[in-house]
């Protein structure tokens, strides 16, 4: 049985300002348990958005920042995210840093953990899909991907978008279980700030990081894009994670463990 003969179904919702799609492969894709699991996954993301969105004045994040809410009386996810952000600052030597980022609406400096929240939220939401035994699933939130396929099923084929031509792809990565996150300037311009200079990072056109968790693949990709030079040796030093970087000149570099171009 090949990938093309397995039944596959997709669901798409717009959450956190992002297109979020879930693809499932397996039997009975119209069954009640499948519908319930997919609905629960999207509901988890919407809940996290309501609590942690920097775009919402009434989110626990915004209220905590305005000192209207204490961390221990806020939704528990806020404390978890604040703690993870501290770990992310340590793990990335400060190249990922939610502090003092420009507010998405006003540009004023504020605490914005969004760069970590997305991957973390998708992992939480995916637990609802993981509860469906015997199904392959693929979660894509605005270009960040988390997949799983049972042993006997085909792996997921993930196209790495071509940073100079988003209508095409430059590599294919086959994953059974794991994550791919890409940071760069293709769709939103130079939006990643170098935390040391507070200026847009531009030494890397795009960098994709793959590894076991989307939380850390996404954080590492953001940090690597900010770091620019030296990003790949740094990713190389992180067990379980690999990266492919495209420089502004069009040259490509990868860490040792990045899989060679897959079969077409």
């Amino acid at each position: 049985m090949t990938a093309t003969t397995l039944a596959q179904r997709a669901w798409v919702e717009q959450i956190m300002g992002l297109p979020v799609s879930i693809h499932l492969r397996g039997p009975d894709l119209t069954s009640e348990p499948v519908a319930a699991a997919v609905a629960a996954a999207f509901a988890e993301l919407r809940h996290i958005d309501a609590v942690l969105s920097p775009y919402r004045n009434d989110s626990d994040l915004s209220r905590w920042e305005r000192r209207e809410l204490k961390l221990d009386s806020a939704d528990p996810t806020l404390a978890e995210v604040v703690s993870l952000c501290e770990e992310a600052i340590r793990r990335t030597d400060g190249w990922f840093d939610p502090r003092g980022l420009p507010d998405p609406r006003t540009g004023e400096p504020r605490y914005d953990p969004s760069g970590l929240v997305k991957g973390w939220a998708v992992e939480r939401a995916a637990q609802h899909l993981a509860a469906l035994a015997g199904y392959s699933w693929c979660f894509n939130a605005g270009g960040d991907v988390l997949v799983h396929a049972p042993a006997a099923r085909p792996r997921w084929r993930i196209g790495i978008e071509h940073p100079f031509d988003p209508t095409r792809i430059m590599r294919v990565l086959e994953l059974r279980s794991g994550a791919v996150a890409t940071s760069g300037s293709t769709h939103r311009g130079f939006h990643i700030l170098d935390p040391r200079t507070r200026r847009p990072a531009s030494a890397v056109r795009a960098i994709s990081v793959t590894g076991p968790t989307l939380l850390w693949a996404d954080v590492y990709a953001t940090a690597a894009a900010a770091r620019g030079g030296g990003a790949l040796p740094w990713i190389q030093s992180l067990p379980g994670y690999d990266a492919l970087a495209v420089l502004p000149s069009g040259l490509v570099r990868t860490t040792n463990g990045w899989p060679a171009a897959g079969p077409l």
Partner: protein
């Protein structure tokens, strides 16, 4: 034209020098191009900032490629602390279409150990999502506004029911 290609060449050579401190084997990473990249290589923005210990362009030799307008330039080997590095580029109509590194340090185990990011490859494989049979796309963040134009939206649409 020749002046431009020589400048491009020195940019690539300089990149190699910049990264040559970790060079090692990298064969097989530059895979066959289905569609050569046409846009990015025309405007390399990385300035040659490595020490001007060598001037590859001065000694670059060229040889004709297969088709008209295609030329391959091979620089002289540049000595680095870790060994010699030599770069060869193929230029078609003023654009780099291939980068080869015929000479690079590979003497010690560390060279072998840390290799893949050291030597330049060009983004020359562009694949059509259809022919590559991909299931999903990872790219720089797609916002809701840009979604309808994205490859991912087409892949999603194929399975919405």
């Amino acid at each position: 034209m020749r002046r431009i290609t020589l400048w491009l060449f020195s940019t690539v050579a300089a990149l190699v020098l910049l990264f040559s401190y970790r060079t090692s084997t990298n064969s097989g990473q530059v895979s066959a191009a289905t569609t050569p990249m046409t846009s990015p290589a025309t405007t390399p923005t990385t300035s040659p900032t490595s020490p001007a210990s060598t001037s590859p362009s001065a000694s670059a030799s060229s040889s004709s490629g297969g088709s008209s307008g295609t030329k391959t330039y091979t620089g002289s080997a540049a000595s680095t602390r870790w060994g010699d590095v030599q770069v060869s580029i193929t230029v078609t109509d003023g654009k780099i279409t291939d980068v080869q590194v015929p000479v690079y340090p590979s003497e010690n185990g560390r060279d072998q150990e840390i290799n893949a990011y050291a030597l330049p490859m060009l983004v020359q494989e562009t694949l059509d999502a259809q022919s590559a049979k991909i299931d999903t796309v990872s790219g720089a963040t797609v916002t809701s506004d840009g979604y309808l134009q994205s490859l991912q939206s087409a892949l999603d649409a194929a399975h919405l029911s």
